[in-house]
Assembly symmetry: C3
Homo-oligomer: 211 residues x 3
């Protein structure tokens, strides 16, 4: 299971990095801007979480595996940007691949963020745990959008943060009220996030607006 | 007095939350975006203050009363948005009510932020105390404006942050140089903030511009 | 040497403050907005660095010399804004003076940020040290651009952050692999940053873009 989590985590890191790099490339940033923006997208949520938890310096500065993966993914995206942008125009499969990677990242980052909050001693403060899961999952994208001067997508995208929150609640309920193994709880709640977000995207569910 | 402070604080939280929710509704955000933006507006200043003080996790994650009030105020604003927006067009009294709530929030948050800084041991560093008062009072609005991609209002609005700073200086002077009771010092300096901001708004005082 | 560093640091603080003030003046902010924006530009990088290091409250709140310099520089800029903007139109020398001050600031802030990281015990984590050097040198400008709703200049300007990173790597290599004195290592790496950025500006070097 630990191996699977690590693999998913690296996938998620790479996927978030690619999404940050593509956004920066569309804004015509240069090589440094693209890599910086990609790393912020991939690692920024975890940095925010660690700053709120008082884990200083943040974990990304004590284990560089994630930064290396994010940087490599950004560089590859930069080098392949021309053909990828061409392909995006003609094919839906690249879009779908991007969606799957990004959603996998959201699932893993949410649960990992919660586990770090729990192992820091906040199991008895479930709102904080769920909030840090959402921060880990969505924070990097919010920072990316602030830097690129967009209204954060998470505010308008079909149930993105909400999927993370619902999955987080399910995870806390499973840990608190049932006797399922940790592994099963992780698998179920990550599956729930994936399912909720996929259904929302497929059926174009939107949260209501006021006016 | 403690009761009065708590009531004012909850009023201020609700008022800031409503201001964040209305700004998000005008930008066509969905339900999640509206609630998130309202809570950032109401609680973000305190989070910034606690991060600068090293109070981690920030206080909003250890006492959920404020979050509950902010969330409820945002939800009610969301539900009542249509008639409120209609009414805004036809009546000045809603605008005035909003101004009074918001200014009450600024008064209370400034003094509460200063008291938290003082009880963390920084009485001998008055600039830091006044700065944290202003951060508590204005930080949420700045975060709201960054998220909604506006130039922070506090940079251009008639003496908003300046009222907070002047009130903070008055509070420090009263505590340091006079023998008035804490209660009186709080009341006088909150009244000063309210008065300065109200006079500035009424007479349309503006700070000078360079060109 | 310590005296020279202090003088350069105060020059850098003033230069960054002027750059923040001018940006705010061009955006028609009022006196408070100009001074706030200038101080964020001059001191924000150090605040970010200290928050990542867990130095709370940040150093700017325990030694007010830098704030005083930043505030004074901002006020003078505000008062002289009209003739300066006139002069900018007609003369290249003011532009060049601004460039030299700003680059001096980048050099000094990079190396000072690194030294604070090293004295906090992170010499064995060179990536973190170089990152904090860049954060100290570039963070204030990034915050300025976020507040003024611009895409951070550092993402598109000719090798600005990259000069800071390269100088930081040179400094770490000199400290780790050679026996040059600290003073010489500081002078060489600051000179390298100045040279790289000046050459990049003169020859209009740009980092590559993807498309």
């Amino acid at each position: 299971m630990d191996h699977l989590i690590l693999i998913l985590e690296l996938f998620g890191t790479a996927a978030f990095s690619v999404s940050g790099a593509m956004a920066a490339i569309h804004r015509k940033l240069d090589l440094f801007g693209v890599i910086f923006c990609a790393c912020i997208t991939a690692l920024g949520g975890g940095v925010l979480r660690d700053m709120l938890l008082g884990i200083l310096p943040p974990k990304m500065f004590t284990n560089y595996l994630y930064l290396a993966v994010a940087g490599a993914a950004a560089l590859i995206t930069f080098l392949l940007a021309k053909p990828v942008i061409e392909a995006e125009k003609n094919s839906r499969s690249i879009f779908i691949a991007g969606f799957i990677f990004d959603t996998a990242g959201l699932c893993v980052f949410t649960i990992i963020g919660m586990n770090i909050a729990i192992s820091s001693g906040y199991f008895s403060n479930p709102f904080f745990v769920v909030f840090l899961g959402m921060t880990t999952g969505c924070g990097g994208g919010i920072l990316r959008d602030i830097l690129l001067r967009r209204i954060p997508l998470v505010f308008s995208k079909h149930v993105y943060a909400v999927a993370s929150i619902l999955g987080g609640i399910i995870y806390m309920l499973l840990l608190s009220l049932t006797s399922v193994s940790d592994t099963a709880a992780i698998a179920i709640s990550m599956g729930a996030i994936f399912l909720i977000r996929s259904l929302a995207a497929y059926f174009r569910w939107n949260l209501p607006k006021a006016v």
